[in-house]
Amino acid sequence: MHRLYIVPTMIINVVIVLVPALLTAALAFCNWDGISAPTFAGLDNFRALAADRVFWSALGNNMVWTLVFLTVPILMGLAAASMLLIVRRGSNFFQIVYFLPVVIATAITARVWQGMIYSPVTGIFGILKKYGMPIPNPLTQPPLALFGVATVDLWHWWGFLCVIFFAALRQVPQEQIEAARLEGATYFQMMRYVLLPGIRPTITLMMIMTVIWSFLAFDFVYIMTQGGPAFSSELLSTLAYRKAFYDLNVGQAAAAALVISLFGLVGTFFYVRIQTREGEQ
């Protein structure tokens, strides 16, 4: 009887998630322009993607993106959260300050950075140039474009991790922290032996989610560079979008989406396994 409780969520899941997901999987094996009727194409879309060097560079960019987001914002979030824990005074204020970029709409954040910071005409970079400190707009340099966009996403994202980590750190038993202090533990010793082990499940979960989210990253790249210049900041998601809505090649877009899902699936597998283990414990 209790299994009936999951029926409403299952219905929503089937209609909103399962049906479109199955359709996407089916379309990956079809030729479809999004307008006329699809025709079966076998593995042609996957072959075409494998032969497309932009697909491989987009996949590589996704890997780089994932590595950046697995390290920089997590380290920043942990450092800031531990500081908030140690220096309690003003912690609420700083939490709000750190969290603020998370609630600003993506489009606004992206345009502000593009126009008011990076732009050599209207931005801070332009002012620095006038004072003899020329810094190139990273969005216009192929080797830097991806990192230029990632910086903006990091600025917008790390505060979220900080708040999550801070909430987790507050659950670490106070006695352990006090004991470590009495023993004369330094900041790094406190982090290494008390705080990090105490919030390890939260960090693991955030890292798994980061892998999944990194392969879904789309908005900042699409708004700021649209994958350019010269495909240098193209991600799998922007590639899929371009294939579907500009090339009118929905089949190849669906194939690219399946590749994205594959990475998400790996992340989900580990997430479920860890959750199950914790449940058993």
């Binding site: 307008i35 006329s36 732009s119 050599p120």
Partner: protein, 439 residues
């Protein structure tokens, strides 16, 4: 009691969008039209000059317009696929018309063309471009061209004259560079497809429209030496910094403003940029100039572009009303009024512009440019813009591929090889729009 009141109020609010349909259902037939994004001022222009004026002239119809933003194209495709969508269908260009007509989503307009006399009223070329397998499915809403804007005041001060040949253009650009100016005011920060304006200019002005026509019809390949020379020339201009240091950082408006301020000498852009003349040139005490883009031969070339097309939905419940809206637009009176307040977006392809009277506020330069374009199209002397005549995937590859050439990630020959491969695939799939024969 209070809960009931809230429920009633909620129901009432929820039914508000349906009210116009109920209120006029008895005697008026609704006609829906989805439009892309438009500034508040231009939304008012459409409401006053199209919606209100059409409804007053056709009391039996009730036209309504819905502004769907820059995602109109995607929304429309989903709606049409599910057999809904507006009665008047706005597409992004002829390459979309072919696919939609092939899928049976658009109504053939041949009977309406006969009834309303569109065959005589519109330039024949644009009727050809709206045909698919011999039937008329779309009318071009606006046509445009690429050319060279320049600052007349700046030119007069420096005793420069508008270039007519590529050699003159290059000599002038070098002189501008020597004076610390950017030769081409150009940028793509907010519209990456701006790259294809420059590709369209190069292939038409260097390789020539005849060669472009041959490539579009499959008579020669895109890897032909004529196109390699054209792309090499565009890469050379990039290497010589004609486009300046900030091409990828400047928005279209910022780059256009540079020619008004004198930071840049010329702007290779299209007739849509006339919208930006008023906000920048008078404030800088400068007068704008516009000429057809210089060419190897010295004859100005006007690459022809169709910004968007209009059709009738095959599933429309009121196709006669939708066709009446189209007919209302393609009139001298509507052309005159709309172009008087909004230049560049409503350049309807009327065959005879002699009865068109634009407001005194309209730049004479705009009127002249449009008359010159209309005459060159009428005489069959026009070039081809890539966004109008290339199929979708070829066109999107071109936008990023040209950046790869500029940034030395690929060569002109390899870029054209990939372009040619993509074009052939799409040509085989029947995705190349109708290419009218050359006069």
């Amino acid at each position: 009691m209070q809960r009931r009141t809230i429920l009633k109020a909620g129901l009432g609010l929820a039914s508000l969008p349906l009210l116009p349909r109920f209120a006029f259902a008895a005697d008026q037939k609704p006609v829906t039209f989805w439009y892309e994004s438009a500034s508040p001022e231009n939304q008012d222009n459409l409401k006053n000059l199209l919606v209100d004026a059409f409804n007053a002239a056709h009391p039996e119809e009730l036209l309504s317009i819905d502004f769907r933003g820059s995602d109109l194209d995607k929304q429309l495709r989903v709606a049409m696929l599910s057999s809904t969508g507006p009665d008047v269908v706005f597409t992004a260009g002829p390459s979309y018309v072919a696919a939609m007509a092939q899928a049976g989503q658009l109504l053939p307009l041949d009977d309406y063309a006969k009834k309303y006399g569109w065959n005589e009223r519109l330039l024949p070329l644009f009727l050809d471009l709206g045909r698919y397998e011999g039937k008329l499915y779309a009318l071009a809403k606006t046509y445009e061209t690429l050319g060279l804007f320049y600052n007349k005041t700046l030119f007069a001060k420096n005793n420069w004259k508008a270039p007519t040949t590529i050699a003159e253009l290059e000599a002038l650009a070098d002189e501008m560079k020597g004076k610390g100016m950017v030769p081409f005011g150009a940028g793509n920060a907010d519209w990456r497809p701006a790259n294809e304006w420059h590709v369209s200019i190069a292939i038409n002005s260097v390789a020539g429209p005849e060669n472009v026509h041959k490539a579009l019809t499959g008579a020669i390949q895109w890897t032909d030496p004529a196109f390699v020379a054209a792309i090499d020339k565009l890469a050379e201009w990039w290497d010589k910094s004609y486009f300046g240091e900030n091409y990828f950082s400047l928005t279209l408006e910022q780059s256009f403003a540079q020619i008004a301020t004198g930071q840049a000498g010329m702007a290779p852009t299209g007739t849509w940029s006339f919208t930006n003349v008023k906000p920048y040139f008078p404030d800088n005490n400068a007068e704008p100039g516009f000429v057809g883009f210089p060419s190897v031969s010295g004859d100005p070339i006007f690459p022809l572009g169709i910004g968007s097309t209009l059709s009738v939905n095959a599933k429309s419940e009121n196709p006669d009303g939708a066709a009446a809206v189209l007919d209302y637009m393609f009139q001298d009176d509507f052309y005159s009024k709309m172009n008087s307040v909004w230049q560049g977006e409503w350049n309807l392809p009327l065959a005879d512009l002699s009865k068109v009277k634009l407001s005194d506020n309209v730049l004479p330069l705009y009127t002249e440019a449009m008359k010159e374009l209309s005459a060159s199209v009428g005489a069959g002397k026009y070039g081809y813009t890539t966004w109008t005549f290339l199929p979708p995937a070829t066109d999107t590859y071109l936008v990023s591929g040209m950046e790869e050439v500029w940034l030395k990630k690929t060569s002109s020959a390899d870029f054209l090889k990939k372009l040619d491969e993509t074009f052939k695939q799409e040509k085989d799939a029947g995705k190349v729009p109708a290419i009218p024969p050359r006069a």
